[in-house]
Symmetry: C2
Subunit: 330 residues, 2 copies
Amino acid sequence: MSDSGSVPVFNFADRLAAAIKAKNNPSVAGLDPRIEYVPAHLIEKARKASISGDKRKWQAEAVLSFNKGLIDALYDIVPAVKLQIAFYELLGCEGMEVFRETAIYASQKQMLVIADAKRGDIGSTAEAYAQAFLSPGGPFEADALTVNPYFGCDGIKPFIDACAKNGKGIFILVKTSNKSSIEFQDIETSDRSSGRTRPLYELVAEKVREWGNSQGLAGSCGYNSIGAVVGATYPAQAVALREVMPRAFILVPGYGAQGGTAADAACSFGSGGAGAIVNASRSIMCACMTQGWKDKFGGDMVKAGLRYADAAREEALRMKEDLNSALISR
Amino acid sequence: MSDSGSVPVFNFADRLAAAIKAKNNPSVAGLDPRIEYVPAHLIEKARKASISGDKRKWQAEAVLSFNKGLIDALYDIVPAVKLQIAFYELLGCEGMEVFRETAIYASQKQMLVIADAKRGDIGSTAEAYAQAFLSPGGPFEADALTVNPYFGCDGIKPFIDACAKNGKGIFILVKTSNKSSIEFQDIETSDRSSGRTRPLYELVAEKVREWGNSQGLAGSCGYNSIGAVVGATYPAQAVALREVMPRAFILVPGYGAQGGTAADAACSFGSGGAGAIVNASRSIMCACMTQGWKDKFGGDMVKAGLRYADAAREEALRMKEDLNSALISR
């Protein structure tokens, strides 16, 4: 709610751009909670409080507490969270409930929520996914969803329609951060009519640009709601892709634990250091496990873990400075 | 359990081949239960029995009854079910519980279960998916999982490892049944060193063949547990792909409602009419909604729906004959 009584912003790209600007922080905290990331005291508390003794249930409870603690520590400095659904599915139906509750909790704290589920299927199935993730009141409603392009446009259209109708966004996989993304994504494709060759990821990027020009998606921030995933681990490709998709919001994984630097991540930004958001998961979630943090507590991992939220905040602030410095020095 | 006291078959390809042979039926029933497919009497019953009145809960209950009715009607004639997870997610956590219970119920009735979730991500995330879907005791354990290849081999390896370790299978998207699969999957790729060009789906198929040769995956049936998805809607491509992947079990969507014929589907089979399994979802689930079935009940849709399981069985038997005729006449 705005104090000035103005209408809430509808367009996803505009909402994301505004949140980044307000916090002066183009980063997203990945909440990909493996159970081994959860500090001992939260595990212990959930286990003891468990009535049923059902392991999956108390593990889910522990993860939810962990997530809420992270959100509480980050919401005033980080504009968005990204939930990797695999780690919630791994905890079964209870885990999916944690996914849902985490998304709601983050929204209440004014963070944007990206569901990292990499969905993709034929049109009728994609429609069901769009209903579940990108519709008001959908069971796993988020602000945006990551999407796999392999099915082509009829598998993407239901997501695009949902974005336009509901003020949501998608990030389509273009060039992923992993090593073997070269295997198919970098394959040289040839256009018989023009004789031109280019890598597959560039072709996908052209489609992302085309899809982003569909009606009802352009934000007044200069970007639109059909975004792309481009890994920080491929800076040269990111520079080229930024040119192919000048209006696409880019979600940048691969910073930190996967090896991408702030300078690498900066390659996905547009003019004025806008139009992209960089994800970090492990480095924030597991900040209390670093040697530096543990040293503050005489190497005591349990004591260090009690302050996991402070450690996460410290790392998020460090990342923010790191990214902003890289963006200024471009 | 075998009467002869022999060791249960471990390899997924062998289990699937044996089940197809035992029922003389190379088809899989897709359980993709949109709520509008569920007959009125089941909806009404679940709604009335609902204590909480929570719509998502009684809808989930109705879907579970529907699925169990279908499984009861089919298990002695159809070797496998394929659960499209999108339609379960759409019903929220309750829907995911229905997914789980349906998978367990089908297994108890000796049907193989294919989780149609088209998962794909970087290695560490793919590992979590493999744990959830392809590990004994995993929350959404199935016999096989559909997988998206866009991330390349490091995103596929955790699934391959789980298949070898746990006697499970995967079906990798090679050439999907939808119209716009041509957009990226058919793109001509060029090999700089050899100068050879070929469509992307063929390149993916070569990788599927390579991955299928990994240790611990070969079945004694002549096929291995790293399968492929090839749509019945592209018979010419299916012929070529069968040659590229002579040992891959092929899952064939697109028969029936999507327009593929039995002769089209037959193109994905290997010698002796083995090595493939054809999916039908809507035509079986919604068999009681056809004009022919409704006519038996004077056009009364509610009465026709009361016998939905019989209609499904009739259609499954028709499909079996249709496929077997097409395989014989090749």
